[in-house]
């Protein structure tokens, strides 16, 4: 189920809405300088992506977090095309197989990643053909019309195929499977996200636990706790997927965005005026990063819009106890995690791996006894 609060819908081409989003990304004046001592940046972040014409910020951000996790485990240096996960294939983890649409919940994607699925590489489910379809004037409607015509009249596969070829020049092995789908969205999904990929085009997600921190309240304390969590994670070299609200209608976030935060620093000017900044790894392409001081934006304004934090950590992860060295900001206090359960037993038929991962995911410690498996909480 999608949670209304975290349902993300990307941006309309509305100047007012863009202005609202631009308010999130407040840059420091040029007289503010950073120092190495007051900067912590995750070094092995994946390349910057560009979501172009699709409202898929949530799956692009999730792909970035997954790529970084896999890279870190493998001590990877430079990323190659083989290290890149297909963002459009991850969109299916957020809702259903017909998920080539706007809006989605990155938390659901990370939860699926924790189940250790085989991830399609970008090579297997590439984004450019879909992007081209979305950008082509009338392209979507023309393809939909040809699909409907095929379904109604049971004919002209070649008409449909020639239409698809405008976007997907390579041989489409999955066409026959796609044609069996009843809805246009499911048909598109089959075309752009093949049900199976060659083994060289798949990455097995290593053991991982997904965690999240909803930012439900609007009080300064809620924001400070979120900031404390972000700082703790970044100093533990864990990138943080953040969902932010751009436009609110009452209690519901009507327009949102998802990005990955990969660094924290303090910048100061000669007068001793200091600001805390976060580094945003945005799926808006390299041009956005460079126009926005490589993504370093003021933490205060960004925090105001944060709805939730999501991250991936390895089983048994311990967090850094370090704090960012800074001159003016107080230390933020991490809220203690509250637990209400004492222990839960393993489900019948649940294998050890799933049990262990689920237990860690819930914040517990697995215990193996003669009477069975148990997940203990303190």
């Amino acid at each position: 189920m999608k949670s209304p609060a975290s349902l993300l819908v990307l941006l309309l081409l509305s100047p007012a809405l863009w202005a609202a989003e631009a308010d999130l990304y407040v840059l420091a004046d040029s007289d503010f300088k950073a120092s190495r001592e007051t900067t912590h940046e995750i070094s092995n972040m994946p390349p910057i992506k560009d979501q172009n014409g699709a409202g898929l910020c949530y799956s692009f951000s999730a792909a970035t977090v997954a790529e970084q996790y896999i890279c870190k485990l493998n001590n990877c240096g430079r990323y190659s095309e083989d290290d890149l996960v297909s963002p459009i294939s991850l969109a299916g983890f957020s809702s259903n197989s017909a998920a080539i649409e706007d809006g989605g919940n990155p938390g659901l994607i990370l939860a699926e990643l924790a189940k250790g699925p085989a991830l399609r590489k970008e090579k297997c489910a590439p984004f450019p053909p879909l992007a081209k379809l979305l950008r082509q004037s009338g392209g979507w409607d023309a393809l939909q019309a040809k699909f409907s015509n095929y379904k109604v009249n049971q004919g002209c596969t070649t008409c449909l195929e020639s239409e698809i070829r405008k976007y997907f020049p390579a041989h489409i092995e999955q066409l026959s499977t796609a044609l069996q789908q009843s809805s246009f969205e499911a048909f598109l999904w089959e075309i752009f996200v093949p049900a199976s990929c060659k083994s060289s085009q798949v990455i097995r997600m290593p053991p991982v636990i997904d965690k999240s921190h909803p930012v439900t309240g609007n009080s300064p304390k809620d924001r400070q706790r979120a900031m404390a969590r972000i700082e703790q994670l970044l100093l533990s070299d864990i990138p943080v997927l953040t969902t932010v609200c751009i436009e609110r209608k009452g209690q519901v976030c009507a327009e949102g965005h998802a990005t990955v935060v990969s660094g924290i620093r303090e910048v100061c000017n000669a007068n001793g005026d200091c600001r805390l900044q976060l580094k945003v790894h945005n799926s808006y392409g390299l041009g956005w990063q460079m126009q926005n001081q490589n993504g370093w934006v003021q933490a205060d304004q960004y925090l105001e819009a944060i709805e939730s934090l999501h991250w991936l950590e390895r089983p048994g992860q311990t967090y850094s106890e370090k704090k960012l060295a800074r001159s003016s900001h107080p230390d933020f206090e991490v809220a203690p995690e509250r637990t209400v359960r004492k222990s839960i037993l393993s489900k019948p038929g649940e294998n050890i791996r799933d049990f262990t991962l689920n237990c860690y995911r819930l914040g517990g410690t697995p215990a193996f006894t003669d009477s069975g498996r148990r997940c203990d909480f303190r």
């Binding site: 560009d50 172009n52 014409g53 190659s80 950008r135 392409g285 390299l286 460079m290 126009q291």
Partner: protein
């Protein structure tokens, strides 16, 4: 502005950009390289930089976006990408040597400009006019 760390090559190929840095990109769909240089805060393709006055990519910020932008109402892109389309450009995603992707706007004369440079210049023009 240092556009990106890697992929910077010293440009000595064109008169127009003799002192400028060249940034090398590749198309995502075909193995074709494209060299980008900075001209008056716009990152444009080298050919555009050479013929400046007649290059659409350098004057496109003066265009007003058309209202009919979205081809499929439910699918929305980022603002610079949308703006490119609204001024009759088409988006090209280019990739640098580190696999970073950059959003470029291509016009009918073939010229390319970074979509964020274009969007930013358009916004500055509009804000300046409304003062």
């Amino acid at each position: 502005m240092a556009f990106h760390a890697l992929g910077i090559l010293l440009a000595a190929t064109t008169g127009a950009s003799a002192n400028a840095e060249t940034y090398r990109y590749w198309k995502t769909t075909v193995p074709e390289k494209i060299d980008i240089v900075e001209v008056a805060k716009f990152h444009v393709d080298e050919f555009c930089a050479r013929r400046k006055a007649s290059c659409k990519a350098l004057t496109a910020y003066k265009l007003n976006p058309s209202k009919q932008v979205r081809k499929h109402a439910q699918l929305k892109g980022h603002p610079a990408s949308d703006h490119c389309e609204s001024v009759a450009g088409s988006v090209q995603i280019l990739t640098d040597s580190k696999l970073n992707q950059a959003n470029f706007c291509q016009f009918e004369d073939g010229s390319l400009v970074d979509s964020w440079d274009l969007f930013s210049a358009y916004q500055k023009r509009v804000k300046g006019a409304s003062r």
